[in-house]
Symmetry: C2
């Protein structure tokens, strides 16, 4: 009897059953970019628009991750990698539950994003580079972090005293200095929706 249960509910079928229930294909949309580049704003708008189009999404960002699962991590290099590793593993759990993830993290190095892609699986990982020039991010400075980084109060700050490694071949480059963010969101949706659209005949 137990073996029956496991045969019926193995992991692949479980994900498929849930994608069918939600009528969508689960993917991880990974927003990478400088602090102040607009990742969280874009993530919120994307989730809102996708929800209106009947797609069921979950956002992971600093707000719900650093205060919870990753609250015991600091900002050492080792802990930054562990931060991204846990985020990728949580994303994978959600994805295996049929849910579309929108992850918004600076994730400044190629090594970090490669690790995330490896955990999540290349076919499931849709990388969006939020390409806002440093000058604009620094002008916006929504949390006052650039000011603190320039004064030396925050060390190893991405873009100021630590590098941001531009992705080589992201799925989308979102030029987010455009004042009309809705146009940026529209362009992203046009590329994302074909990836998450449910095709009931795909496995026939």
């Amino acid at each position: 009897m137990e073996s029956n249960i496991y045969t019926t509910f193995d992991k692949i079928k479980d994900r498929q059953a849930k994608e069918i229930y939600l009528k969508q294909r689960a993917k991880v949309i990974w927003l990478t970019g400088l602090s102040g580049s607009g990742k969280t704003t874009l993530a919120s708008l994307l989730e809102k628009r996708l929800f209106e189009l009947n797609y069921f999404c979950q956002i992971l960002d600093g707000d719900n991750v650093r205060s919870g699962i990753n609250k015991n991590l600091r900002f050492t290099n080792e802990d930054r990698m562990e931060n991204i590793r846990r985020i990728a593993e949580v994303s994978k759990l959600f994805m295996n539950c049929g849910i579309i993830l929108i992850c918004a993290f600076i994730s400044p190095t190629k090594k970090m994003r490669e690790m995330a892609k490896e955990i999540i699986g290349e076919d499931n990982f849709l990388e969006i580079f939020v390409d806002t020039p440093l000058e604009i991010c620094e002008q916006r400075d929504p949390k006052g972090l650039y000011k603190k980084a320039r004064s030396g109060e925050i060390p190893n700050f991405t873009g100021i005293s630590a590098p941001f490694e531009v992705p080589d071949n992201p799925f989308i480059v979102a030029e987010n200095s455009n004042p009309d963010i809705n146009e940026t969101v529209r362009k992203i949706l046009l590329k994302i929706v074909p990836e998450i659209r449910f095709d009931p005949t795909a496995d026939l």
Copy 2:
């Protein structure tokens, strides 16, 4: 504009919107009990029956947690607490996404389960004590762990060389030595469904 986004999509509304989409109330069903007590089998059957009743669930158990998010934890006391802490935080993320969690972990001490309850929130935490006598668990011994524990190969094994603290006031006591597991599942469903059933007028 940003403030508008945050007002519309604050966390409580986000959870509500998702519960409405899924037509259910999100809860965490927490199965605690000895190794071999039948937690994973019960969790699988519960998920299957709840899915047939159109409830959208996710199982967290050793299989998908120890191989992923918690793969860098060992079996020291500190790491066992961290294991449960991360599981509770992941459960909370799913719950805030409107999803019913079924967690199956030995979680042998009151301190562990109290921590999980505190993270998840008392109203959201439905504790099920899977009450299978040690002798039956040891007879079943599905993974051969009791044999290893008796021979001393595994130290600090719950029930043999480490205590299992019976919950004081669990939501359900599931006596799982009954050969008819479907009857056990039926009894659990009768108590769980009123907790997860969606009432569209609840917040009017």
